[in-house]
């Protein structure tokens, strides 16, 4: 039964992409959606059995690689971590499939699209249910491939192709780290099996090994650092985040599926899965927490000024991933997973309802050309409002139960890292609420800036697009409350088999009993953010001229350009790394080496030299009799002199004479 969860999405992909010509577009839509829904239903059973009833199970499908020590089967484990991810992935994916039926109705390649969605789901399921690092890596690379195919789905658009390449390449940088970590894991443990590695982890602590010619590197630190580096790329943390906002070039359901709920969570999932290893390396954990909190703040601040409806949500995803990452870095993996599940719900909701707005407005994505849609699109408004309130952590919605816990844990961690993460997280919460409400104001509440034609044709999405939104909105409101005790309740045995936290790192109780006034800081920040966006946007309410003067002032303009240029990260990456590498690739390795010295000393140069030598040799044959007779005489004289020199023991000189002779012969033109 468990393998059916993997089999159904694969069949969905197989039937739609390989047999799509025979079953038709509507057949593809129906089959792929049905397969994912079936997988979701089965994963509900799996959730009941593995997570709720606490009987984790492992399924060995077949053997894959079998060489002496290196035995890696196709094996899948279904513990509480896996099945939670299964629920998230299958749930969001089936809703996105359902949504895409209508959203991609007029697209000529809809059947290919549905197949790619199923393919992505399949690889993601392989990733989360794998029982060893190699199968995990198979899924990891698979979702990279599927994200490439989905981002460049409209492959005739140059921007989509470039974004897909960017996503693929930036992810490959992280994947390199993951490969290195897998190599070092095998070097250390002689196996890639999760259970063996995790049970041996504490024995490997504080032992050193030689890796990549670095002697005496700390074993577990190297492993976890490279795992984190892999997660850095996939989960779009600061530094390697540059692909995520550009990946919005794909269709909106793609953004909802792979850039909100699933693909970017793969890196986090890996860190949560390897919690045993990370717990042994406090240094790496601090790095994870610092990078996560930086990402949370950075992405949220860039999100403030984005004018593209989808990019706002993309940066919010990046920021929320930072939240999860620093929850991991503070050793609270279950909270990170809880936030991951919740975030999947409300981010998919936000993306899909943004898709409704875009769909209703003839594919207009610019926030500045929207406004006043409240009367026209009330359902989308409600959905975005619910999603945004859940996102900013409004009390008693889903986001509140995970996001505020993340911040409380950071507050209760008595280290510099904890403090840093807490304050950056609070600032990020401030920015999150600012841009969420800015989005709502600019799209729905303000006076309209749209064209008349857009507004006249604006319409609410049909029921098949709204239905997934209903489910997601329901989840965004209630899921956090319902599952709070299961995931992060005091002493919950939910993750006892899959996630480990050292007890000295555990500050859940301190967080629970922290002073109320400190716990309210994020909420106050959130309220402040919402109010500020209200005042800045609705100039009519406050004094128009004051805010206008402020907006055109030096400080605001420089801040604005700093934020619109994304903290200059793209610029830095382009100018310092990409252009340098491209230049190196063209000037040095291509022009100087490949087409230069290697060709000159290689076949091209030697054949050209031989050609010119033979030309000059054959030039001696002028056809003139007196030339021939001169050559005869000269040669005889030369041989005569040469032999005389030999007899006088002038070895070197006679060789020089020979060289001179050959040079003069070959340089005759």
């Amino acid at each position: 039964m468990y393998l059916l969860i993997l089999l159904f999405p694969f069949l969905g992909f197989f039937s739609t992409n390989l047999l799509g010509r025979f079953i038709g577009v509507s057949g593809s839509r129906f089959l792929s959606t049905l397969s994912i829904v079936l997988a979701f239903i089965i994963s509900l059973f799996a959730f009941f059995e593995s997570a709720l009833s606490g009987s984790a199970c492992s399924v060995v499908l077949s053997s894959w690689i079998n060489i002496e020590l290196f035995t890696t089967p196709w094996s899948f484990c279904f513990d509480s971590l896996s099945v939670t991810m299964l629920l998230v992935v299958c749930g969001v994916s089936s809703l996105v499939h359902l949504y895409s039926i209508e959203y991609m109705l007029t697209d000529p390649h809809a059947s290919r699209f549905m197949g790619y969605l199923s393919l992505f789901t399949f690889f993601m399921l392989v990733l989360v249910t794998s029982d060893n690092f190699l199968v995990m890596f198979f899924g990891w690379e698979g979702i990279g491939l599927a994200s490439y195919l989905l981002i460049s789905f409209w492959h005739t658009r140059i921007q989509a192709g470039k974004s897909a390449i960017k996503a693929m390449l930036v992810n490959r940088i992280g994947d390199l780290g993951l490969v290195l970590s897998i190599c070092s894991i095998f070097l250390s443990f002689k196996t890639l099996d999760y259970s063996i590695i995790f049970s041996l982890a504490s024995f490997a602590n504080e032992s050193s090994f030689s890796f990549l010619s670095f002697n005496n590197s700390d074993r577990l630190s190297v492993i976890t650092f490279f795992i984190f580096f892999g997660a850095l790329g996939k989960s779009a943390q600061i530094g390697l985040h540059i692909w995520l906002p550009d990946a919005m070039e794909g269709p909106t359901p793609v953004s909802a599926l792979i850039h909100a709920a699933t693909l970017v969570t793969a890196g986090l999932f890996l860190i949560i899965r390897c919690s045993v290893l990370f717990e042994e390396c406090p240094t790496i954990l601090s790095i994870v927490a610092l990078m996560g909190s930086l990402t949370a703040f950075f992405a949220a601040s860039v999100g403030l000024v984005q004018n593209d409806l989808k990019k706002v949500i993309a940066y919010s995803t990046c920021s929320q991933l930072g939240f999860m990452m620093f929850a991991c870095g503070l050793s609270h993996y279950s909270i990170a997973l809880f936030h991951l599940a919740n975030h999947a719900l409300f981010k998919a909701l936000l993306f899909l309802s943004a898709g409704c707005v875009i769909h209703g407005l003839l594919d207009e994505q610019d926030l500045r050309k929207m406004g006043g849609l409240l009367q026209i699109l009330p359902i989308s408004y409600t959905m975005i409002l619910i999603g945004s309130l859940a996102l900013v952590g409004f009390p008693f919605l889903t986001g509140f139960y995970s996001k505020d816990v993340v911040l409380e844990v950071a507050l209760a961690t008595p280290t510099f890292v904890g403090n840093f993460a807490h304050w950056l997280g609070c600032l990020a919460a401030f920015c999150t609420s600012f841009y969420s409400f800015r989005l709502i104001f600019l799209t729905f509440l303000n006076n309209t800036n749209s064209n008349k034609a857009y507004i006249e044709n604006a319409h609410e999405a049909p029921i098949i697009m709204v239905l997934p939104l209903m489910f997601l909105a329901f989840g965004s409101i209630f899921w956090g409350f319902f599952s709070k005790d299961l995931f992060i309740g005091v002493g919950t045995p939910f993750f006892i088999t899959s996630v480990t936290t050292n007890f000295e790192n555990l500050v859940l109780l301190e967080a629970e009993f922290a002073p109320t006034i400190l716990k309210n800081i994020p909420f106050i920040f959130t309220l402040l953010g919402a109010l500020l966006s209200f005042f800045l946007i609705n100039c009519s309410v406050t004094s128009k001229t004051v805010i206008f003067d402020y907006k055109i002032g030096f400080f605001y303009r420089s801040l604005y350009s700093f934020l619109t240029k994304k903290w200059h990260f793209d610029q830095l990456a382009n100018e310092l790394i990409i252009h340098k590498l491209m230049n190196f690739g063209y000037r040095i390795s291509f022009q100087t080496l490949d087409k230069g010295s290697i060709e000159i000393f290689g076949p091209f140069g030697s054949s050209a030299k031989l050609w010119s030598l033979s030309k000059s040799l054959s030039n001696i044959h002028s056809g003139m009799i007196f030339h021939y007779s001169f050559v005869m005489l000269f040669s005889i004289l030369f041989l005569f002199c040469w032999f005389i020199m030999f007899n006088l023991n002038w070895g070197i000189n006679s060789l020089l004479l020979l060289l001179l002779f050959s040079y003069s012969v070959f340089s005759i033109d």
């Binding site: 056809g623 003139m624 007779s629 005489l633």
Partner: protein, 100 residues
């Protein structure tokens, strides 16, 4: 007159023949004459050394070379006549059809 004189004179004659071949760029008949001159010089050396060594073989070779030289000049003149019929001149500057 000692032996050296009898050796040097044909040697000089031989190199005159050689330079006649090398430096002559006009007339093909001059080449034939130069070849004859070279053969004559060699013949002379054969005869001189035959007398000096008091050996008959040199004179036999000299006679043979005479016949060979006669045959060679007749064939060479025949080739020149054929060439003249084709080309209308015997200038060796125009004999360059077999360029490399």
């Amino acid at each position: 007159m000692d032996l050296l004189t009898f050796i040097i004179i044909p040697t000089i004659t031989f190199f005159i023949g050689v330079s006649g071949i090398i430096f002559n760029k006009k007339n093909a008949i001059l080449i034939l004459i130069s070849v004859e001159l070279m053969l004559l010089a060699i013949n002379f050396i054969f005869l001189v050394s035959s007398v000096y060594l008091d050996d008959r073989i040199g004179q036999i070779f000299a006679l043979l070379i005479l016949t060979v030289a006669a045959a060679e000049s007749s064939i060479g003149l025949g080739l020149l006549v054929v060439y003249y019929r084709l080309q209308g001149s015997v200038s060796i500057e125009s004999i360059n059809l077999m360029r490399g």
